[in-house]
């Protein structure tokens, strides 16, 4: 199958016998000699962003010196704060970005694709320039970088669990729009059970069970009854929102002490290691849920890509017919994967009521299930990719609150918008194509 040889105008009847898979929209069809067409998308996007960065962060950049604190007072050893003249920093970083964009254009003219590291380095530079610009333009041009990063990781915890749930479901071929519902169900159950048993740890377990139950509804309806997975997901979010809201109003609000004061999971501080600047608080000063997050990312990654189980799951998600032929029980695999995904998301939900705040309120997950979905897509259905995407979104979330405190010219609403904009760019293929598993969302009927 050639992809670009015949790029017909979409919609026009094709001459000759149409072969499935030979059409593509005229958006970016540049006739290419190689089988793998190199498009102008990446170079053009990088160039545009580079120019934007040069104009806003560089030429129009603020004249103050941005100060980034790295160590906190209790650290093992102290590092000096980084001070960057905002104007100069903006110019230097944006020139570097323009250099990268020029390199991508040069590669394109030689019909070579940009290497994978190029967009990543570009994003890092862009974020750095953006930070300098934001902080440099603030009323108080000083910010604790360590605090910013630690806060980002904390905010990213439910996102990571949510996107891992998505990875587990969608790698097996079941679209999981119900992440929001799983998070919310987990949060509610964690608060309720932890209060009743007076043990946050049992609450954590119960959250996993609750997430799994929500997921099982998704699995039963989409696998057994073949209801469209997106419909079930959307409806499940509403159902869980209604159920938890109803029970909150009738049970929890009437008697908060008896039903809605779960207490918090303790923060486990590993001595010495937690005093390392920047990475100490991130890696060695977390709640159980926070440590579980790192473990879960590693386990899911190893499980999916290095074990027989993972190979089977991916086979089921990519080509269920082939998997079935090889004797893999497609629908059973899907069912248990979706259930497992729900349990993971449920644990993430417990973060809201056992770590962040110690009580449940209506809609406590506040749409984070959808950001997790975005992280899953931006992370290209890969646990590690999803992890870093969730970190980026947590970073945006945290920066948004800090930006309002230090008082910068950027409206906080635009920071809040960032994850969604980035996701739109990602799915639209502007930041590298994000490709779902081939059989994602298609129910499998044996026969």
């Amino acid at each position: 199958m050639s992809t670009t040889a015949t790029s017909p105008v979409p919609g026009k009847p094709q001459q000759g016998k149409p072969e499935p898979g030979t059409t593509r929209p005229a958006a970016d069809s540049v006739p290419a000699v190689s089988a793998k067409p190199v498009t102008w998308k990446v170079p053009v996007l990088l160039a545009v962003l580079g120019v934007v960065a040069f104009i806003f962060f560089g030429v129009m950049g603020p004249n103050q010196t941005a100060k980034f604190g790295i160590s906190s007072s209790g650290d093992f050893f102290q590092l000096p704060a980084i001070e960057v003249p905002a104007f100069l920093g903006g110019i230097v970083l944006s020139v570097l970005m323009l250099g990268l964009a020029a390199y991508a254009v040069y590669l394109k003219t030689r019909n070579e694709a940009s290497p994978g590291w190029l967009p990543i380095v570009f994003i890092v530079l862009f974020v750095a320039a953006f930070l300098i610009w934001v902080v440099g333009g603030a009323r108080t041009p000083s910010i604790s970088l360590a605090g910013l990063i630690a806060g980002s990781v904390t905010l990213a915890v439910p996102l990571v669990f949510g996107s891992l749930s998505g990875v587990l479901c969608e790698r097996a071929g079941v679209v999981n729009i119900a992440i929001e519902g799983q998070l919310l169900g987990g949060a509610f159950t964690a608060a309720m059970v932890a209060t009743l048993t007076k043990s946050p740890f049992i609450g954590l377990l119960a959250a996993a069970v609750a997430g799994a139950v929500v997921s099982m509804v998704l699995a039963v309806f989409s696998i057994k009854y073949l209801v469209n997975q997106i419909i079930v997901g959307v409806v499940l979010n509403v159902l869980v929102s209604g159920l938890t809201g109803f029970l909150f109003s009738t049970v929890m609000q009437a008697n908060k002490a008896q039903f809605n004061s779960p207490g918090r999971l303790p923060i486990i501080d590993i001595p010495v290691l937690s005093s390392i600047p920047v990475i100490g608080p991130i890696l060695f000063k977390q709640s159980v849920v926070g440590y579980l997050m790192y473990i879960a990312v590693a386990v899911v990654w190893v499980g999916l890509f290095k074990t027989k189980w993972g190979l089977r799951v991916r086979a089921v998600g990519e080509h269920p017919q082939a998997a079935d032929t090889m004797g893999i029980k497609v629908n059973a695999t899907r069912f248990w994967n979706v259930t497992l995904g729900g349990a993971v998301a449920g644990i993430g939900g417990s973060f809201f009521t056992l770590v962040a705040i110690d009580s449940f309120t209506k809609e406590i997950s506040g749409g984070r299930g959808f950001i997790a979905l975005a992280a899953l897509i931006f992370g290209r259905w890969n646990p590690i990719g999803a992890f870093f995407a969730a970190l980026l979104f947590g970073f945006a979330d945290n920066l948004q609150s800090i930006v309002t405190i230090i008082g910068t010219p950027v409206p906080s609403q635009f920071m809040a918008m960032l994850p969604y904009l980035v996701t739109v760019l990602a799915v639209a293929g502007l930041v590298g194509r994000s490709r779902p598993p081939a059989a994602d969302g298609i129910p499998y009927v044996k026969g």
């Binding site: 992809t3 979409p10 919609g11 009847p13 499935p20 898979g21 030979t22 059409t23 929209p25 958006a27 793998k36 067409p37 729009i177 309806f221 009854y225 073949l226 209801v227 469209n228 997975q229 419909i231 079930v232 959307v234 409806v235 499940l236 509403v238 159902l239 929102s241 209604g242 159920l243 809201g245 109803f246 009738t250 209506k362 959808f370 975005a374 897509i377 290209r380 890969n382 409206p411 609403q413 635009f414 809040a416 918008m417 969604y420 904009l421 996701t423 739109v424 799915v427 639209a428 293929g429 502007l430 194509r433 490709r435 779902p436 994602d440 969302g441 298609i442 129910p443 009927v445 026969g447």
Partner: protein, 482 residues
């Protein structure tokens, strides 16, 4: 990352595949959106072979270009749809009956939920085995009390002092149903073209922004002003929806993800605007816009004692328009063809990307009418709660209405009644408004899985049939959601 970079050309090929068939994946498991309205209720299992034959016949006639065979499809295949079943069974297993039973089942479960948190029920449960009748009557009382209050708050209140007051709840229902109907129509229209428009929420918001701005910032004569408000709202919704269609058609991005993200982008954009001098009411620190000019709001059609406004009449007109569009117009035929099978539609010469953009733009325009109904009809002001949850409710409305225009209209009225009645229910009986969300979502879940509903009421077709139908893939898929 490296794992995925290696087979990139393969991936691109697959992507190209997917882009060429923009609406295929969500379509196949959801025959509701593709299935033409069945003229009569039929049992889905026996009907399936006939459908397959119909599809084969459609292929034989090259998408309708050639003259179809004079022999009826069902006769060609030798099976009469549902012919082996008794009439009674067909009535009770038909899709209309399933809808009614699904609503009933959801109401029963909702009632049980209400009862489970009721104090009286809890008290009688402690001596359940001594006197079970007490417990059962307490359950009955708790559930019916709430539902009676729901009815009185949504349709007819017998305690009103005059007829006008007695029917005030019904007018409130119609008022709340107005944005549900138009946004639901937008979602339903997209469903029929095989697109999941989760983005009614964002489309309402964008429409609200434009309509409200025209309403309070411009000062125009009566008539013209309102017309311009309406046009601005429709254009706002159409652009926001059409943008999704454009992105999907050009890049193959999945519209579910796009619309979800666009909802949030619209919401934060609105919140930003409400903090700017252009939109914030002068002298106000809350994010709220100035009140719309009197020339820019919908007139109240049944007198000033009801909130019911012209938007409801426009919603009826929109329903007629969508019905005409889908069932009588060429464009609508193209939409349905794309929804039924995008590859076949492409082969038959239908411009699939154009249809995608167009259907999303029209869906956005319909949702935009909801935005106008909100800012120019019900609220007369723009806040960040302009869309409430109408955009999300619209999805359940469209699903309950089986994506047909009049079905959506009826579903919009039902959910409008739930919404209006729930407020009264909460005041009178203390049952939280959230119960409506539970009942709504249960209704849609059950309607989407007819076998489950039939199993609950013991109406499943005999085993032999089910096994026979399960053998062909088409049969099982249609059986799942017909």
């Amino acid at each position: 990352m490296t794992e995925q970079d290696k087979p990139k050309h393969m991936a691109d090929e697959n992507a190209a595949d997917r882009r060429a068939t923009p609406a295929h994946e969500p379509q196949s498991p959801d025959p509701r959106s593709s299935e033409p309205q069945s003229p009569e209720p039929q049992s889905p299992e026996p009907q399936a072979p006939a459908e397959a034959a119909a599809a084969a016949a459609a292929l034989d006639t090259a998408g309708g270009v050639m003259q179809p065979s004079a022999v009826p499809v069902s006769a060609q295949s030798g099976t009469v749809p549902g012919g082996a079943d008794t009439l009674v069974r067909r009535i009770f297993t038909g899709s209309g009956m399933v809808s009614v039973l699904a609503v009933l089942l959801a109401l029963i479960l909702g009632g049980l939920l209400i009862a489970s948190t009721d104090k009286q029920v809890g008290a009688t449960a402690s001596y359940l085995f001594a006197r079970p009748s007490d417990f059962l009557s307490a359950v009955w009382t708790a559930a019916t009390r709430s539902y009676v209050a729901l009815f009185q708050g949504s349709v007819f209140n017998p305690r009103g002092s005059s007829v006008a007051v007695q029917f005030a709840p019904l007018m409130e229902t119609l008022t709340i149903a107005t944005p549900l109907i138009t946004a639901g129509l937008g979602v339903a229209l997209a469903f029929r073209a095989g697109l999941f428009n989760i983005g009614a929420q964002g489309q309402i918001i964008m429409a609200g922004i434009l309509a409200a701005w025209v309403g309070f910032a411009l000062h125009l004569p009566l008539g013209l002003h309102l017309l311009l408000v309406l046009v601005a709202g429709i254009v706002g919704g159409a652009l926001w929806g059409g943008l999704v269609g454009l992105l999907k058609a050009r890049t193959g991005a999945h519209e579910v993800i796009l619309t979800i993200m666009f909802n949030y982008i619209a919401l934060y954009f609105l919140r930003y605007l409400l903090n700017t001098p252009a939109f914030q009411r002068p002298g106000e620190s809350n994010p709220i816009s100035p009140i719309l000019d009197p020339t820019a709001v919908y007139p109240q059609i049944l007198g000033t004692q009801y909130r019911l406004h012209l938007g409801f009449v426009l919603a009826i007109a929109a329903t007629v328009l969508v019905w005409w569009l889908l069932n009588r117009s060429t464009v609508g035929f193209e939409f349905r063809a794309v929804g039924a099978n995008p590859k076949a539609a492409l082969t038959a010469g239908i411009n699939v990307p154009r249809a995608t953009v167009l259907v999303m733009a029209i869906a956005g325009a319909l949702a935009g009418m909801s935005g106008v109904a909100q800012v120019a009809g019900t609220e007369k002001v723009l806040t960040d709660g302009v869309a409430a949850t109408y955009g999300f409710d619209a999805i359940t409305v469209a699903l309950l209405g089986r994506s047909t225009p009049w079905g959506t209209f009826a579903a919009g009225l039902l959910f409008g009644a739930f919404r209006a009645g729930a407020v009264q229910m909460q005041i009178q009986t203390g049952t939280p408004i959230d119960i409506v969300l539970v009942v709504q979502s249960l209704i849609v879940l059950f309607i989407a899985a007819p076998p489950l509903v039939r199993a609950v009421f013991g109406l499943n077709p005999r085993k032999k049939k089910a096994v026979g139908a399960g053998k062909s893939k088409t049969a099982a898929t249609t059986g799942g959601a017909a």
